[in-house]
């Protein structure tokens, strides 16, 4: 299905980079000449508490903002979003549109039989990706898990190009970036994992590319078609 607008809801835990992921996706879409808006929603900042972000990408100006109640894509950054109900609603997929896609970062299937059936009734495809493991394998740190979530949604929907993702990552991590105290601390933490900034950018992009390819292959094999119209 080709849409005039693709609505992506990213459900994660504080500190995982869900907010950064949505910002990077929107920055990349903007670089591709599409219209994009991203915004986060979270409570008072703490690690492991539910945090969500939203990215809207489309072919005309986007006014809509705030929590995405009716998404096309839901990304689950952490198993606890499902297993411990660390989501803004139960079930985590409430509001998902028909023919949507759910992407879950987990080594093992997490959905109950009832959930599997409800998603099937809505023709929603479910893609599991071992995001944290890929981040450890490719980038050498689980802090790059959010890169695998960027790569997988981009690989399935092609809503942003890899070239623009590269540019967006450089824009986000290549220069001084001032955010809240919590985000600044995490930025410092990830920088310490790499000897040089160029290495951070390269390893993160490699992580994006690896998950992009895996997701694209899955989508092709399972005939999952969900895309944004050309800009």
């Amino acid at each position: 299905m080709i849409k005039r607008r693709l609505n992506i809801r990213m459900s994660g835990l504080g500190g995982q980079g869900a907010v950064t992921a949505a910002h990077v996706m929107a920055m990349a879409a903007s670089r591709d000449g599409k219209f994009a808006i991203s915004n986060p929603f979270f409570g008072a900042e703490k690690r492991m508490a539910p945090a969500e972000s939203y990215c809207r990408i489309g072919v005309s100006r986007i006014y809509d903002r705030g929590e995405l109640v009716f998404p096309d894509v839901i990304e689950v950054f952490h198993p606890q979003v499902i297993t411990m109900g660390k989501s803004y609603t139960m079930p985590f997929y409430s509001g998902i549109k028909e023919n949507g896609v759910v992407i879950i970062n987990s080594d093992v299937p997490l959905l109950e039989r009832e959930d599997v059936q409800r998603l099937k009734d809505l023709d929603v495809a479910v893609f599991y990706i071992k995001g944290t493991q890929i981040a450890l394998d490719v980038a050498g740190t689980e802090l790059s898990t959010n890169m695998t979530m960027i790569g997988s949604v981009a690989g399935i929907t092609k809503c942003v190009s890899l070239e623009s993702l590269d540019g967006a990552l450089q824009e986000r991590f290549g220069k001084k970036f001032v955010a809240s105290g919590g985000t600044a601390t995490l930025d410092e933490a990830i920088k310490k994992k790499f000897a040089k900034k160029e290495m951070l950018l390269k390893k993160n992009l490699d992580t994006v590319v690896r998950s992009y390819e895996m997701a694209a292959e899955w989508a092709e094999k399972n005939n999952v078609e969900l895309a944004v119209a050309a800009a």
């Binding site: 920055m27 903007s30 409570g43 006014y63 809509d64 705030g66 109640v69 009716f70 001032v178 955010a179």
Partner: protein, 402 residues
């Protein structure tokens, strides 16, 4: 006038002082993909501000921190953190009394805590600009967007504008100083937006050149004596009328309050000129009009697109200025409307009440939908309410929480 002579010269960081009208309307613009907080910083970079006083409260903390960066770069004369919002707003008054162009930001409970200062600012005719990134003010504590706090500002004597987007924010911060510093106005401005929806959202914003800035504030354009060696602060309280209880003292207070509100009225012509009208009307001939301010306008625009697919024609009236209140503009824009929908991000529906008090046949006003406490207003909800109002069957919405 002093401001005329400085145009074309450079300020201390090497920015060229521009003719404000030309800077805002003719200078080249560069599109940037920024959060609202970054946009506040970029506007202040160009505002030739003397003093910014900060206190951390979500969702304005990022903007306040970013302006600290500007201070480090030399763009702001002085920058410091107050002990509380009440202290911040009192310190803003001190700086403005001293002849400085003052900027501050606050949100939610911070606005409420500092409330005593706002009518004082207006009464003292201090053209301070305060960004209000609205958030919930209820208990239990919330950091999420909710516009209830704006209703408390409406009768302070401040100018109150409600920005829809980060672009509004960028332009209105700069234009705001031009309006509020006019000698026949000289009032503080509360420039409001819905927190998170604007401050934390990344969007494309067109910025004026960074090497261009507003002329500095000229305190001697103030209609009341500014504080200097000739007129020390003690004059404010010498022989104060508060000590007297007689007809002269009542008449003084009454006439001064009237003068503050007359100044709000006099700002109308400047506001119309700088904001290109106090309202923006899209498709006024439609039978159904959405009248809204802030993010509710954006959600209304999306609802218009949703309803167009069903062949329902919708008009939008964006209210930019809440004080002064665009009474005539709203009457004119709504004169043909059969249904007036007022979606709001607060529980009381203060905007709908204002509109009902303004127009003939106020039963045309439908106050809703309302969301509050940080909830989002999906355009589908506005569309569903409009369909219900028209007696059209709407699909049931199974969203979050249902």
């Amino acid at each position: 006038m002093a401001t005329q002579t400085v145009i074309g010269t450079q300020n201390k960081v090497g920015q060229t002082i521009a003719d404000p009208w030309k800077m805002m309307h003719e200078a080249d613009r560069t599109p940037c993909f920024f959060t609202g907080s970054e946009v506040i910083k970029e506007a202040i970079r160009r505002a030739n501000c003397d003093v910014m006083i900060a206190y951390p409260i979500t969702p304005q903390s990022e903007a306040a921190a970013l302006i600290g960066e500007l201070f480090a770069e030399g763009y702001i004369g002085d920058y410091f953190r107050g002990e509380s919002e009440f202290a911040v707003m009192s310190e803003c008054a001190g700086a403005a009394f001293g002849g400085a162009r003052v900027f501050t930001t606050t949100a939610g409970p911070g606005t409420m805590r500092a409330m005593e200062n706002f009518p004082m600012w207006a009464g003292a005719r201090l053209p301070i600009q305060m960004i209000v990134t609205c958030r919930g003010i209820n208990s239990p504590l919330s950091i999420q967007p909710d516009t209830l706090e704006i209703s408390y500002l409406l009768n302070t004597g401040m100018l109150v504008w409600h920005a829809e987007t980060a672009q509004d924010f960028f332009d209105w911060i700069l234009k705001g100083y031009m309006v509020s510093e006019e000698p026949d106005v000289h009032l503080p401005l509360a420039l409001c937006c819905d927190g998170f929806f604007v401050t934390h959202t990344k969007d494309v914003v067109n910025l004026t050149p960074a090497d261009m800035c507003l002329p500095p504030y000229d305190p001697y354009r103030s209609p009341v004596p500014c504080m200097d060696m000739e007129c020390p602060p003690v004059r404010m309280m010498r022989d104060p009328f508060v000590m007297k209880s007689n007809y002269i003292s009542y008449a003084t207070h009454a006439s001064w309050q009237q003068e503050v509100w007359a100044a709000v009225e006099r700002s109308r012509k400047h506001t119309i000129r700088w904001l290109d009208g106090m309202v923006e009307v899209d498709n006024p001939d439609a039978d159904i009009l959405i009248v809204a301010s802030g993010t509710a306008v954006s959600q209304g625009r999306e609802a218009k697109a949703v309803l167009e697919e069903d062949g329902i024609d919708l008009g939008i009236v964006k209210v930019k200025s809440l004080r002064p209140w665009p009474e005539e503009e709203i009457r004119e824009a709504t004169k043909h409307a059969k249904h007036i929908i007022v979606p709001e991000f607060n529980v009381t529906g203060w905007l709908a009440k204002e509109i009902r008090a303004t127009i003939p046949n106020p039963d045309r006003v439908y106050a809703g939908p309302h969301v509050c406490g940080g909830m989002t207003m999906p355009p589908e909800i506005i569309a569903a309410d409009i369909k219900k109002l028209l007696g059209i069957k709407a699909e049931s919405l199974a969203g979050r929480g249902s």
